[in-house]
C-alpha cells in the first residue's frame, strides 16, 4: 500500500505562494522585452525610488560610516593598528554594510510604498480600469517599477558608500588629525577589484528582489482595505529576508569565483 504523508499546515500555502511568485517573475521577463517600453514611466518611478530616497540614504550612510569608525577604533588601537582604520572601514562599507543596509532601507521605504500603492490600486479597481481600456497594466505598473528599482538601488548604494566614507573621515578626525587626501588614499588603496565588483553586481539583484516582491504583493492583493496593509507589511518583511538570502548567495559565489 502506498504511504501518504500529510502536508504540515501552512506548507502548501507556502509552495503555492512560491509558484505564483515564480509565475509573476516569468511574466516580468516576458513583458520586459516587448514594446511599448514606457520610458517616461520608468523615469518617473526612478525619480520616486531614487531621488526621493536620497536624504534617507544619505543620513543612514553617514551614521553607518561614523559609528563603524568610532566602534572599530578601540579594537584596532589595542593592536596598535589605528592606521588601518580607513582601509578597514572602506572594505566593510563597500563589500557588505553599504549594500545591505541601503537595500534594507529601500525594502522598507520603496517596498512598502510600491506594495501599498499597487494594492490600493487593486482594491479600488484602478488596475481593472487600466485593463479594460486595452492597456497592459502589468507592463505599465510592474515592469516599470522593477526596472526603476534595478537602476536606482545600485546608484543609491554607491551614494551611501560615498557618504559613509565621508562619515568615517569625520569619525577618524574626532580623536585624531588625518587630512582628507590621506584618509581617502588609504581607504581606496585597501580596496581592490574583487571588493567592488561583486558588491556592485549584487545590488542589481537586491533592487530586482525588493521591487518584484513588492509588486507581487500589491498586484495580487485580495482582502480589500485590510489587504493593503498586509501587502505593504509583507512586501517589507519578505523583501528584507530576500536581501539577506541574496547577500548570502552573493558572498558564496564571490568567494568561489574571485579567490
Amino acid at each position: 500500500m502506498q504511504k501518504t504523508f500529510p502536508i504540515p499546515p501552512g506548507l502548501d500555502d507556502f509552495f503555492i505562494e512560491v509558484a505564483e511568485l515564480t509565475r509573476f517573475t516569468g511574466k516580468f521577463f516576458r513583458n520586459v522585452f516587448l514594446p511599448p517600453y514606457e520610458f517616461s514611466e520608468i523615469l518617473k518611478q526612478s525619480f520616486i525610488i531614487g531621488y526621493k530616497s536620497l536624504s534617507l540614504v544619505a543620513v543612514t550612510g553617514f551614521i553607518m560610516g561614523l559609528v563603524l569608525t568610532i566602534q572599530s577604533r578601540p579594537t584596532l588601537a589595542r593592536f596598535g593598528a589605528e592606521s588601518w582604520l580607513p582601509g578597514m572601514v572602506a572594505i566593510s562599507l563597500i563589500r557588505e554594510i553599504g549594500p545591505v543596509i541601503t537595500a534594507l532601507i529601500c525594502a522598507g521605504k520603496v517596498g512598502s510604498g510600491i506594495g501599498a500603492e499597487l494594492a490600493s490600486m487593486k482594491v479600488t479597481e484602478q488596475i481593472d480600469a487600466m485593463e479594460v481600456s486595452g492597456t497592459n497594466p502589468f507592463k505599465f505598473l510592474v515592469v516599470t517599477r522593477i526596472l526603476a528599482a534595478m537602476l536606482m538601488i545600485p546608484l543609491l548604494v554607491i551614494f551611501a558608500d560615498a557618504v559613509g566614507l565621508f562619515g568615517s573621515y569625520i569619525g577618524v578626525n574626532i580623536m585624531g588629525d588625518v587630512g582628507i587626501r590621506l584618509y581617502f588614499s588609504q581607504a581606496f588603496d585597501s580596496l581592490d577589484f574583487a571588493d567592488v565588483l561583486p558588491a556592485f553586481i549584487k545590488t542589481f539583484f537586491f533592487g530586482f528582489a525588493i521591487a518584484t516582491i513588492a509588486c507581487y504583493k500589491g498586484y495580487t492583493c485580495k482582502k480589500g482595505t485590510e489587504g493593503v496593509g498586509l501587502a505593504a507589511n509583507s512586501a517589507v518583511v519578505v523583501g528584507s529576508l530576500c536581501v539577506f538570502i541574496i547577500d548570502l548567495i552573493a558572498v558564496q559565489l564571490a568567494s568561489f569565483f574571485m579567490k
Binding site: T124, M130, V132, S133, G134
Partner: protein
C-alpha cells in the same frame, strides 16, 4: 495576412443588431454559485438596466463581458466575438470598443484629471499632443467639468469623480458602455444628474449601455428595458411601466 485585431476593428454594427449576447452563463467562486445559467441579448442603441439585490451577481455579469472574470460555462458574444475565447491582442481590440464606468469611478489617484483622460489615448500612436488635448477638453466639456482639468482625484467630490470617470470612458468613443452602479453613494440630486447624463450620452453618441443598479430612479430615467436578476438567472424582463405592475411580488418590491 489579416490579423484577428484588424478583423475586429473593421467590423461595424448596425441599428437593431444584437451587440451583446450571453448564453447559459455560469460563474462560481468556490461553492458560491453566482450566475447559474444567465441569458441576455442587447441590441444596438438600447439602454438595458439590470436590477437585482446586492450580491446577486450583477457586477460579475458585466465584468465577464470584458473578461475581467472568466466564466465556468457558457458563451459571451460581444460585437460578434466570443470574448471568452479571444487571445490577448484581439481581446484588447474588443475592450477598446467597450467603455466601463466602475462603481468607484476608479480614477488613477496618482494622475491629474487630464492625465486620467489621456491614459486610454496613449495606445493611439498617430495622435499628436494637440489632438489629444482637444479630445480631453471635449470629453470634459461634455460632462460639464471643463474647469476640473488640472485637479487631482482627491480634490473631486463623489459626483465629479463619476463624471470624470464617464468622460474617461467616453474618450475612446466606445460602442458599448457598461455602468457598474453609477449612482451609488451619491445624493439624490447628483444621482439624477448622473442618470440624465447617461441618457444624454446614449442620445448624443448612439451608444449601447448595460447599467447595473439598484437605484430605481436611475432605472426609471435611463432604461429602455429592465431585466431582474435573482439566484443567478434573469427572472423578469420588460419596461419600467411593465415591471412596476408585475404580478411577481418580489419583482414589484423593487418599485415600491
Amino acid at each position: 495576412m489579416e490579423t484577428a485585431t484588424e478583423n475586429i476593428t473593421e467590423k461595424k454594427t448596425t441599428a437593431g443588431e444584437t451587440v451583446v449576447e450571453i448564453e447559459n452563463l455560469h460563474i462560481s467562486f468556490g461553492d458560491n454559485h453566482v450566475l447559474t445559467g444567465a441569458n441576455l441579448k442587447v441590441t444596438k442603441g438600447e439602454n438595458v438596466v439590470v436590477l437585482g439585490k446586492s450580491g446577486s451577481g450583477k457586477s460579475v455579469l458585466i465584468k465577464c463581458l470584458v473578461r475581467l472574470l472568466d466564466a465556468d460555462e457558457g458563451k459571451v458574444i460581444v460585437l460578434g466575438e466570443d470574448v471568452l475565447s479571444l487571445k490577448d491582442e484581439a481581446l484588447n481590440a474588443i475592450r477598446k470598443k467597450i467603455g466601463f464606468l466602475f462603481q468607484s469611478a476608479a480614477l488613477y489617484d496618482s494622475m491629474s484629471v487630464r492625465e486620467n483622460l489621456e491614459f486610454p489615448l496613449r495606445q493611439i500612436k498617430k495622435q499628436t499632443q494637440e489632438e489629444k488635448n482637444k479630445l480631453v477638453e471635449e470629453a470634459l466639456k461634455s460632462v460639464g467639468l471643463a474647469e476640473a482639468i488640472d485637479l487631482v482625484p482627491s480634490e473631486l467630490s463623489g459626483g465629479m469623480r463619476k463624471r470624470v470617470g464617464l468622460a474617461r470612458t467616453m474618450i475612446l468613443k466606445p460602442e458599448i458602455i457598461l455602468y457598474d452602479e453609477p449612482t451609488t453613494g451619491l445624493d439624490p440630486i447628483t444621482s439624477k444628474e448622473i442618470s440624465k447624463l447617461i441618457l444624454e450620452v446614449q442620445k448624443e453618441f448612439k451608444t449601447t449601455a448595460i447599467i447595473i443598479t439598484h437605484d430605481i430612479e436611475c432605472a426609471r430615467i435611463t432604461a429602455n428595458r429592465i431585466l431582474v436578476l435573482k439566484d443567478g438567472v434573469f427572472v423578469a424582463e420588460g419596461t419600467y411601466k411593465e415591471l412596476e405592475k408585475s404580478e411577481d411580488k418580489w419583482v414589484r418590491s423593487f418599485f415600491e
